[in-house]
């Protein structure tokens, strides 16, 4: 009984488990930290590891289908960069080989390779971001900083489907009247298109007046506004997570400031051996980036044992 | 209720279709046919489910296949060409092939069963039964509702009994005894329900006179066409059964691909692919419509 019913529910709403279940703020923090780190660190080791972990994360948050779609383009782009960069840029000193009288340097190759990695990492992050932190949640966080803007965004979100619906109706009606944007000369089409927009505008505006009234009648702009909080923030739970992420992030930044984790390519590329500190930083980054994995894993284990 | 694409056909047609498929599939071990139906079955399955699911399924059945292929030769030793001896049992090439064939048979059968259960839902079965014999249909539905009811009761009773001492005894026998009791009561409860169902049936005039049978299915022209096509193929199959039939031992039957044979295979392939084709057409159409709308 319960099984079937909640199956039905599951079909209706997306259930937030594991990483998705966390308070949106936590997720946002995670993503921002990751983004910053990826931007700053340009050491291939770090980037490679990030990419690797993030790929797993994406698979975990089953967004890998989306990922594949993007991957094609990104690889293409990256390849492009590599080729162009290596063939056009002639900075650098270590010559690899010479093709048709052009010296192919190692540095630009490396540089473009790193850029590609960076792009990839960012993309991976972005995809994951997209399908964990959906519009609602993002808006929720957003609105706690910029009340009004968020509010108007919501209004917009509300009105998009309405407008769509109206536009459909208008185009139907006008089509029958003999105006349409699918037939006739460009000029005619343009004209009728303009007409459509005009109709849409007048219609929507007149209705918007009502909306405004309704808002006023429900006391919009009468004074201090409170906010309904659908997500609960439990210090004992979310707090700790944020704490760890931020502290690790701090360490990484400090490391950066001390000059670790970057490698200078131009003018002369030299790869310093991995020091202990590097290893530590590497570890930190891995932990941060693997955060969703950790949480999901914990969840999984818990359910495994509850059964 | 999944009522798109191939499922749009009239239940009768669907039923005949699957009947035919199963007959063809199970009646011969012809490698070509096996191949045909394996491919088409998997294809259809993957169309109706996610790519991921299909993969996992295939993965699972791969094991099954290996198992069968290895198991058969172990116990079945006929065949000309002996490969080697395993603790002085001959391992023959033929039985090896036979194993493979049977493995394929099982897999494709499994897949076709899955497809079947997706297309021919309970209410279609009901409809079919109803057209033959309305009473039967009703008892069938009662049964359909009785079993889950029974299960639910069982679960409830068990969980309650846990709190009133079902835990206490450690001896296996008593536990078993308890289980039997629970099952009995669960059954009783469900039966009570069924009785009142029968009451309400009577109250609504069941058995007063000959029932008619209401259905939301219509028999369209394309159903007719499809049905005819099926029948033709059925007959074709029966006529050429000799050629199509295939044996593995004592030695593999030679697979002669004459013109007409290949034509026949082609036709049978068309049967296998029919639903897949329709589903694909549906997909494509939607792609197209999307771009329009």
């Amino acid at each position: 009984m319960i099984q079937t019913s909640s199956n039905r529910i599951r079909r209706l709403i997306i259930i937030d488990t594991g990483f998705r279940g966390l308070h949106p703020l936590v997720q946002l923090i995670y993503y921002t930290c990751m983004a910053i780190l990826i931007m700053l660190y340009n050491h291939p080791y770090f980037l490679i590891i990030c990419c690797f972990v993030l790929i797993i994360v994406n698979i975990m948050l089953d967004s890998w289908v989306k990922l594949l779609k993007w991957m094609k383009s990104i690889l293409f782009l990256g390849g492009g960069i590599i080729l162009l960069n290596t063939f056009l840029v002639t900075k650098g000193e270590t010559v690899l080989w010479i093709i048709g009288g052009r010296a192919i340097m190692l540095e630009p190759l490396l540089f473009s390779f790193i850029t590609m990695l960076m792009l990839m990492a960012i993309l991976l992050l972005f995809v994951a971001f997209n399908n964990t932190l959906n519009g609602q949640k993002f808006l929720y966080i957003f609105s706690s900083f910029f009340q009004r803007t968020a509010f108007f965004t919501m209004l917009a979100m509300r009105f998009v489907p309405l407008l769509k619906m109206r536009l459909h109706e208008i185009s139907d009606v006008q089509r029958v009247k003999g105006l349409s944007i699918s037939h006739g000369s460009i000029k005619e089409r343009a004209q009728s298109g303009m007409l459509f927009l005009q109709v849409l505008l007048t219609w929507s505006l007149t209705d918007a007046i009502d909306t405004a009234d309704a808002m006023k009648a429900r006391g919009y702009g009468t004074g201090e506004i409170s906010k309904y909080k659908p997500y609960r923030f439990i210090w004992k739970h979310e707090g700790i997570i944020i704490g760890t992420i931020v502290s690790l992030f701090g360490i990484c930044i400090v490391g950066l400031l001390l000059g670790y984790g970057r490698l200078e390519i131009y003018p002369k590329y030299n790869m310093p051996p991995l020091t202990l500190v590097d290893a530590l930083l590497l570890f930190c980054i891995t932990i941060i980036s693997a955060f969703p994995l950790i949480i999901e894993g914990r969840e999984a284990l818990k359910w495994h044992y509850l059964k | 209720m999944y009522l798109k694409g191939f499922a749009m056909f009239h239940p009768m047609v669907l039923f005949f279709y699957f009947l035919l498929v199963f007959v063809i599939l199970l009646s011969t071990l012809n490698p070509v046919l096996l191949g045909v139906f394996f491919v088409s079955g998997v294809m259809l399955f993957s169309l109706l489910h996610t790519f991921r699911k299909t993969l996992s399924e295939l993965f699972f059945y791969l094991f099954v296949w290996l198992l069968v292929t290895l198991a058969i030769p172990l116990f079945h030793h006929n065949g000309m060409t002996i490969l080697f001896f395993l603790n002085d049992n001959p391992m023959t090439l033929e039985s090896m092939f036979l194993g493979m064939a049977i493995g394929f048979l099982i897999i494709s059968f499994a897949f076709w069963c899955k497809n079947y259960s997706l297309y021919i839902t309970s209410d279609k079965i009901l409809y079919l039964l109803g057209t033959i014999q309305p009473q039967l249909a009703i008892w069938y539905t009662l049964l359909l509702r009785f079993i889950p009811q029974c299960k639910r009761n069982f679960r409830d009773i068990q969980s309650t009994q846990k709190t009133v001492g079902f835990y206490a005894t450690s001896s296996l026998f008593e536990r078993l005894f308890g289980f039997v009791k629970i099952i009995k009561v669960a059954f009783l409860l469900s039966v009570e329900q069924t009785f009142s169902q029968i009451d309400s049936m009577k109250a609504r005039g069941y058995g007063l006179q000959k029932r008619t049978h209401f259905s939301i299915y219509k028999f369209y022209i394309w159903d007719c066409v499809c049905l005819v096509w099926l029948i033709v193929i059925g007959i074709l199959f029966l006529l050429n059964f000799k050629e199509l039939d295939f044996y593995y031992e004592p030695s593999l039957k030679a697979l002669t691909l004459t013109k007409e044979m290949s034509l026949l295979y082609g036709i049978l392939l068309s049967i296998g692919l029919l639903p897949a084709m329709i589903e694909i057409k549906e997909l494509v159409k939607w792609k197209f419509l999307k771009s329009k709308m």
């Binding site: - | 539905t141 409860l189 009142s196 009451d199 049936m201 109250a203 008619t212 209401f214």
Partner: protein
Amino acid sequence: MEIFKVENVNFTFAESSKRALNAVSFTIQQGSFAVLFGASGSGKTTLLQLLKRELTPNGKRDGEIFYKGELLEDIDAKTLVSEIGFVMQKPDDQIVMDTVWHELAFGLENMGLSNAQIRKKIAEMTSYFGMGDWFHKKISELSGGQKQLLNLASILIMQPKVLILDEPTSQLDPIAATEFMQTLHRLHEDTGVTIILVEHRLEDVFQFASDIMLIENGSIIAQGSPRIIGQIVKKINEHHIMLEALPTATRIYYGLSTFTNESPITIREGMEFIGNYKNEIQELPRNIIEQKIDKPILAMKDCWFRYGRDFPDIVKGVSLKIQKGEIFCILGGNGAGKTTLLKLLAGQCKPYKGYVLLHDKKMKKYSMEQLYKKNIALLPQNPKTLFLQSTIREDYEVTAKLIGFDKMEASLQIERVMKMLHIESLMDMHPHSVSGGELQKIAIGKLLLLQPKILLLDEPTKGIDVFAKKQLQQLLQQLRAQGMTIIIVTHDMDFAAEIADCCGLYFDGEVLAIDVPKSFFAQNNYYTTAANKIARQLYPNAVTCEDVIELCIANGLDKK
């Protein structure tokens, strides 16, 4: 013209010697809305079944029943089937088919209608009831309310002249019940179909009914229009138990006065009536039980629960404390949650986040035995599931043995329980063959044998009549007096208001607003007892009928 005419009908069941009905006679006019009420086991159902020939139980019947002036026996089966519709108590038990559309068609199929006709009838029916969007659903996907509506529809589709309903809402939650009654009313208004209804919850039926009949052990003792039925009953017996069943407004009216003019029946009329009382005194001088804040006996620390990894959360961070020896009511609408919460408290489910404390010790740490022997007992929503043996006595004995009493003590204990609940007469019956109220009692009896410290009840008042409810209430208070902690999950606001020391409102996986009933209901605007609705203008803190009456008496009439 009268559609039914019953002339002193007697009926005795085949197996029993006692008369189930004696000398029942009444007439029902065409287009009227008749409501029967009475204690369970008083033969209401039997009477209805006699009116519907197909369902007549086997037994001996004398006296005549006329349908439209001719004997019920003489009318041919087909007309009878289609003209007299019967809706039973349990939504599930009368649905035959497994999809909605097929269920609707069922009756018509039996009548041998053609496909086209059936389609037309179904079409208009669904259009009228607005069932379009769940027309294709499977029965298992419907809610209780929807199921009952479907039953109604699938009867109506045969275009009956008379509609007989046997406690149609007893298994539904209040919202669904009200909806159902609204529909019934609309139906009556629109089509003027004759309706004969048996019902316990008269609150929302009374205003629609055209005449009321009170039936008591097998004979109709009172009959009249809703506004005067009270007086008639009062004449028979000043404190007749069934007076409790009347709507709140009426009860208040009779509680306050012995006026002989027509009584108010709706809440609004109640308000108007109350309006002529003064409201100086807002509070009653009551000895309020002081909440002793010692260690809670049972506590939840923000618990989260769901039925599987990728299922939605059902309990979302509930934390509550339950003091020793109090009656704690968890109220809330239908839908997932309340029962689950109870299961968590009973240790049948384990939260995946947070924990449950029992005697300051985590629930996890207890073994089954420690948990359920002399500690926690849970009364499930369907008490039948408690019984495995073929008679109640056997079952009790088994339970007693299991607790570890020897023969001697076991029989003593059973005696005690029997005395306590007055169920001596039932002991040798089969557990499934007793009425709802009695079942409730024997189930509690069985639980009491386990000598629990904490008693959890899941919807104890579902489908039981006023009389049984009163008894249950007394019993629970008695147990509480013995220091037992009782936790109840219920829809029934009036019941909660009567007995609870503390109420919590369950909503969307949380328990909001835990408070003593008085202020709990006083704060609520919409989700509150009828009594409170009536009186809130004058005495915002009065939540039960008794409060209102006492307050009114205390204040006295307003001269002007």
